[in-house]
């Protein structure tokens, strides 16, 4: 008997079937549904084919353009600062005696849910009109220093968006730091010492040796962060629900789906999000499979 041909399929078959049922089928149906109109049902007498109307909405409506812009802003700011702070903390804390305690503290936010973190920060950002007692930490400080209270979550277009992004950075910096710390400790000390003996300043050691050697890790963490932030939802949903110009793609998708029952638009938005994320996932997967080769 020639068992060779079908045997592999027998083993991967169940996995393929599960993937097809739970991943491929919903994806295809979502794409198909994005060409149909309102309604909660997948298909039915009330659901009409609308061609590219949903797609036109996604790429031309002011609401969606704002969401896309905000998402881009999130991607740039969030990724840049989580990675930068992560690297700096990992490298600098390595020289601190109480490294482990400090690292644990920095890592704690990673264990807090988005909703919990958002509520904590809502208190920090709380705003009352001038003259009233300020219960928000930030405004209390501002007022104590003689300033006017700021509507942190209201001031558009940048202050409120930045304030939201800060929450995300606060949650994820610890995670980045832990990964970078592990990678940094993997760099042989002799390499850094050799550079110092050869006359490199501490900054040059960091620039010319540490950073290039952390390169592959930075790439993996950065792409992971991009994927995380493209899907940003909870923070915005809890803190502003997209008001005052803070809308993001995933929050818009939620609204179209569950507030306005517009399955078609929600599907189109979901597909956009999917296609934005896929390239980063692919590059990450590539890197994971290559990792053994690069060292």
């Amino acid at each position: 008997m020639r068992t060779g041909r079908w045997q592999p399929w027998l083993f991967v078959g169940p996995a393929l079937i599960i993937i097809a049922f739970f991943l491929v089928y919903p994806t295809v149906m979502t794409i198909v549904r994005s060409f149909f109109g309102r309604g909660q049902e997948l298909f039915g007498p009330n659901v009409q084919f609308v061609g590219l109307a949903n797609w036109k909405y996604v790429f031309t409506s002011p609401t969606m353009l704002l969401a896309l812009r905000n998402n881009a802003f999130w991607v740039v700011m969030f990724t840049f600062f989580t990675v930068t702070f992560g690297v700096l903390l990992a490298v600098l804390l390595d020289r601190v005696r109480y490294e482990r305690i400090i690292k644990s503290i920095v890592f704690v936010p990673a264990a807090i849910s988005y909703v919990g973190a958002s509520i904590i920060w809502k208190f920090v950002y709380a705003y009352r009109a001038e003259g009233l007692p300020q219960i928000g930490l930030l405004n209390a400080i501002v007022v104590a220093l003689g300033g006017k209270p700021v509507g942190w979550l209201i001031e558009r277009p940048w202050i409120n968006n930045i304030c939201l992004i800060v929450v995300g950075i606060w949650i994820w910096t610890g995670f980045c730091m832990v990964i970078f710390s592990a990678a940094y400790k993997n760099i042989p000390r002799a390499l850094l010492e050799a550079a110092r003996i050869d006359g490199a300043t501490e900054w040059q050691v960091f620039r010319k040796v540490t950073l290039p050697l952390l390169g592959p890790t930075i790439a993996v963490v950065a792409t992971t962060m991009v994927v995380q932030v493209l899907k940003v939802f909870d923070i915005v949903f809890v803190m502003t629900n997209g008001a005052y110009g803070t809308e993001v793609i995933a929050n818009r998708m939620y609204k179209e789906m569950f507030n306005f029952f517009n399955y078609g638009r929600a599907s189109a938005i979901a597909v956009v999000l999917l296609f934005l994320i896929v390239p980063f996932m692919v590059s990450n997967l590539r890197r994971f499979t290559q990792q053994g080769v690069t060292r």
Binding site: P188, A190, E193, A194, A195, I197, D198, G199, A200
Partner: protein, 365 residues
Amino acid sequence: MAGEIELKGIRKTFGKVEAVKDLDLLVQEAEFLVLLGPSGCGKTTTLRCIAGLERVDRGKVFIGGRDVTELPPAKRGIAMVFQSYAVFPHMTVEKNIGFGLRMRHLPKEEIKKAVREVAELLQIDELLDRYPSQLSGGQRQRVAVARALVMRPEVLLMDEPLSNLDALLRLQMRAELKRLHREIGTTTVYVTHDQIEALSLGDRIAVMREGEIVQLDTPNEVYDKPANVFVGGFIGTPPMNFLKAKVLADDKDVFLAIGDFRLEVPDVWKAHLREMTDKTVILGIRAENIEVHPETNGGRLPANVIVAEPLGSQQLLTVQVGDDVLKVATKPDLSVQPGQAIGLALVKDKIRIFDVQTGAAITFP
């Protein structure tokens, strides 16, 4: 003067561990000094104190007559080769070698020229465009040495540079390092736990143990006249043989008694040894300084063969003498069987005696 190193009472502790204990050392200009000792003896720590990679707790470090105790590594005029090579994996060989010169902001042309010169010296000029991952261990080691030499240091420090190489390559690089030192003449401090490497490379060897230098001498002196039982047992393959012996004296003569056997001693010892009559000492003798005779009579130390190992150029016997086990090197063609009784003759001038309590060599002027 330029490359002279002087350590004055340096001490380095890690927590409760005293890695280096009030160590004094003077390395002459252009000398090749080997720091030799078992792992944990403080030899690497001593080297790192010279390099400035460790701060000394106490004492002073002078390089070229200059007090460098408080200076960072880069300002000490040193270069270092690490056990792990420490070549930068993300730079080509050329960039690796030129790294230090770039940090000094030398003109590009000058760097290129210096790199090429030193690469030729180490025969890696064909590899300048390669990355370390494309090199063999031996080639990486050459890059590491080149990177150190290109800086034209007053002092070259090497931390077990050959221990990651395979045996054959190690032999080759050892000769290479010796040639380089002869050509360049840079003061070199070389750390190793391999006594063969130490004997073959060093102008002088500093044997270290528990943070202290127990003997500082030329390789031949260290080998022939170990300062104590530890040095004798650490250096040489096989290590020095040790047996218990008792000083006996009668009206006419002084000798050492091993069991019932009476061993003659060099004439110059006799007057001094007489004062130690009835004391027990440790007698040390190297395997090659024992002669084997098939017959046991005629004033020879009786012994029993336990194992005979042919090693090509010689034959190594393990023999039993009383309660002690000795290693004896003989000609490869001597025919002996395990269990055979033989007679040993100890070369009189090569005997060394040590104090039973302290293990220190007992020497007579």
